[in-house]
Amino acid sequence: MTSEAATIGLTHSGSEDTGLGHRGPESKSIVVPYGFWLFVLSDMVLFSALFATYASLAHATDGGPISNQLFDRNLVAVETIALLLSSFVCGLAMIAAKRANMLWTQGWLFVTGLLGFVFLSIELYEFAKMIGEGAGPQRSAFLSSFFTLVGCHGAHVTCGLLWIGTMMAQIWAKGFRDDIVRRLLCLSIFWHALDIIWVAIFTIVYLIGTLA
């Protein structure tokens, strides 16, 4: 049980002894993800500000299109499935990486990036369609806050895609070194965090926005 959990777990059990006893500093496999969590949480603070902005401006449509007319639930459902699935596949990539399996790690990371790309393409298609219909960010306060919130998430996904590509190249060139695996761990934390934020966007923007 414990050894299997150690193989697939995200942290802890692989932590190396620092040789300084239990009063010494934690090992790097603990400290590095912890530091990255601090970044992720500060990112969540940024998003909560954008969520608050959107929530207070959602009805400030200035006589323009309202959320019910703009959003297509089916399209967003496909988008959401692509992103949730990519998070799951990212988990599979982490398992393969823990087992130092180059082929499967690269394969799953590629699928993760591919699903992220599908998500991003659908989002850009939706944005282009809305701007084409005259519902761009300049139209109303509601649309400004919508494009800021969802666009900020999209920008994060774009960075994540660049990161996945870089990570694949690094694993290929440098192998499963300790520091490379720690980076991979941070990438997976980042990718899951984006998923959590998307679930909130999906609920607050799209589900509540398309209630009859």
């Binding site: 300084l20 660049l162 870089t166 690094q170 440098k174 520091d179 980076r183």
Partner: protein
């Protein structure tokens, strides 16, 4: 309490077993990436698309360049740690001695 004891006995606690210290190397990466990101932000505000692309590529390029380095840390050898700590202990000891003389 410890301080009072130290003054009374006119000595510091025993010297600990010093260890080498691992430190991250200094790097200008953060500032350079921030510079490119600012350029990109400026360009996006004023719709200067070529400059936005330059900013993005620059930021990403510096990020990859940094990520590709193999040395991210250096070790402060234990001799240096010990020498520094002993110098500090010597100064503290002098001060302590003055204190215990005056009380």
């Amino acid at each position: 309490m410890r301080k009072q004891t130290a003054i009374k006995l006119d000595q510091l606690i025993e010297e600990p077993d010093y260890q080498p210290i691992e430190m991250p190397l200094n790097t200008p990466t953060g500032v350079i990436v921030a510079l490119f990101a600012s350029i990109c932000g400026f360009a996006v505000i004023w719709h200067i698309w070529w400059l936005a692309i330059v900013g993005l590529i620059g930021a990403f390029g510096v990020f990859v360049w940094y990520a590709w380095r193999d040395e991210h840390e250096h070790i402060i050898p234990v001799e240096e740690v010990r020498a520094n700590a002993r110098e500090r202990r010597r100064i503290r000891m002098e001060h302590l001695h003055e204190l215990s003389q005056s009380t």
